[in-house]
């Protein structure tokens, strides 16, 4: 029983670590305030949930990653010229649109009823091991990627995209690449989620999940992959003691939100770069 609980925590940590690592690529490394990230997670979850009854997971999960990456590319095309607040609003709108499609395209998604009985990926132990291995692989790949010339251009785009362009860098193309990679990883996390929980509904596009992700990113720090992992770990584990204190369940949710808010406040006041961040929140 205890081991099942820790395995669940490990799976939650693995999924959020993947999401935060990929979000850091767009927000921390490229400076794109992308509030559409949770939509890619949802797209990955829905794609594999819809396709997996008709094909092996070895095909449906990669397809989920590809379609999430394609959605990232599609989002980047109209949003590539936007920055800051405008980009945030446009990408947030994308999240709402995806949620609305999931609720209203009933013949495909079963609307608000959601999709139940999704094929399990395997035992929970198998899921946690593969997910944690995946976190390590994604971490190592991203660590390498941000140190390549292409990764350097992404960071230059974050600091000053006009100056990057005057050095011959195609800013728009790099933004598309960044969003596609980031969305693909989020889609992968979504696919794992669908095959672990075995049920999804339009709440996967919820703004609460997005806020949680942003909190993990801010706590861990921008432009730090280690920070992303640490942020995910802290925010997955932090509210857990509340389960054992014996508060009524109606209080646990609000208290969890209060703890997150307090933590964010402390971070912004005393450690504005987050625990391991390398750039300022702007």
């Amino acid at each position: 029983m205890i081991s099942a609980y820790f395995i669940h925590l490990g799976i939650m940590f693995g999924m959020y670590a993947l999401l935060t690592l990929s979000l850091n690529l767009t927000v921390g490394y490229t400076g794109l305030l992308n509030l559409g990230h949770i939509a890619f997670f949802g797209i990955g979850a829905y794609v594999t949930a819809i396709l997996s009854p008709h094909m092996p997971l070895a095909i449906s999960i990669p397809l989920a990653v590809i379609l999430a990456a394609a959605a990232g590319t599609l989002l980047a095309l109209p949003c590539g010229k936007l920055r800051g607040d405008y980009l945030a609003l446009a990408t947030l709108g994308f999240t709402f649109i995806c949620g609305s499609i999931a609720r209203n395209w009933i013949s495909l998604t079963r609307g608000a009823l959601g999709i139940a009985g999704i094929q399990r990926m395997g035992s929970n132990t198998m899921i946690v091991v593969s997910l944690l291995a995946l976190v390590l692989v994604v971490y190592l790949i991203l660590k390498w990627f941000v140190s390549t010339p292409t990764g350097r251009v992404l960071q230059a785009v974050r600091d000053d995209e006009v100056a990057a362009a005057t050095l011959g860098k195609d800013v728009f193309k790099h933004k598309i690449l960044c969003l596609a990679i980031s969305a693909g990883i989020a889609g992968l996390a979504g696919a794992f989620y669908a095959h672990y929980i075995t049920f999804i509904d339009p709440s996967v596009f919820s703004i609460n999940e997005l806020i949680l992700l942003l909190s993990m990113l801010i706590v861990g720090g921008l432009a730090s992959l280690e920070g992303s992992i640490l942020g995910a770990l802290i925010l997955v584990l932090l509210p857990e003691p509340l389960r054992f204190i014996g508060f009524p369940s109606s209080l646990v949710g609000p208290m969890r939100a209060m703890i997150f808010a307090l933590l964010l406040l402390l971070i912004v006041l005393y450690k504005p770069r987050g625990l391991l961040g390398k750039v300022d929140l702007e």
Partner: protein, 228 residues
């Protein structure tokens, strides 16, 4: 001619920053773009490099029309530039700033830095440099970018007199290498001592162009700077 800008115009609301202005930049020479504050020098500069879209006009580089090219495409043609307000990548190291201009070895980066007296700063974060050092880093970066035409917007602003002398040497060395330089400058001694060709703008229009001697003795130029 290295570069020709024909009938360039740019307005901001009702203000005509540059109106119907045409200039020619000779190949392998150092050309200064001067004029009083608000003459439209930086606006024209930005339209040439593509960082500001023009309302009208045509820009040709080495005989090729580059008017519709984007900023990065113009840079790849060989146009390199610095900015009036320094634009380094502040969260990145000096090394990464330079490597964005050219992927090369640390030894070559150190040589580029030593030209602007920033040797030993390779591992520093660009945002932690002083204002003057930031300008020098930007200059080193623009020189490291493969180019044939270098545009410098007030290169001596905020740098000490010693570096100013060093900058003269850098620019004359570039001329010897056959590079073309266009720079905006307010320091007239610097302009007159180094330029082969001077272009004077006033109120967004071409006032005159010629050798430093011709410009210095032109009453219209004196009037533009000092008033009637």
């Amino acid at each position: 001619m290295m570069l020709q800008a024909k009938n360039m115009s740019k307005s901001f609301g009702g203000v005509h920053a540059v109106s119907n202005c045409s200039i020619k930049i000779p190949k392998g020479k150092i050309t200064a773009l001067i004029g009083p504050n608000g003459a439209g020098k930086t606006t024209l500069f930005n339209m040439i490099s593509g960082t500001l879209p023009s309302d009208a006009g045509k820009v040709s580089f080495n005989g090729e029309d580059i008017t519709t090219l984007k900023v990065h495409e113009r840079a790849r043609k060989g146009i390199s530039r610095t900015f009036q307000m320094t634009r380094t990548f502040k969260n990145m190291t000096v090394r990464d700033n330079l490597k964005l201009a050219q992927e090369t070895t640390d030894d070559k980066l150190k040589i580029a830095l030593s030209k602007v007296r920033l040797q030993g700063f390779l591992d520093h974060i660009a945002g932690e440099l002083s204002y003057g050092q930031g300008r020098l880093l930007e200059l080193a970066r623009s020189m490291l970018l493969p180019h044939t035409f270098l545009m410098l917007d007030e290169p001596t602003a905020g740098v000490n007199p010693q570096i100013r002398q060093e900058m003269k040497k850098i620019l004359t060395d570039l001329r010897k290498e056959g590079k073309t330089v266009l720079f905006i400058e307010h320091d007239m001694d610097f302009v007159m001592s180094i330029s082969d060709h001077v272009i004077v703008l006033n109120e967004g229009k071409l006032l005159m162009e010629g050798t430093p001697k011709q410009v210095r003795s032109n009453p219209k130029v004196l009037e533009a700077y000092l008033g009637k």
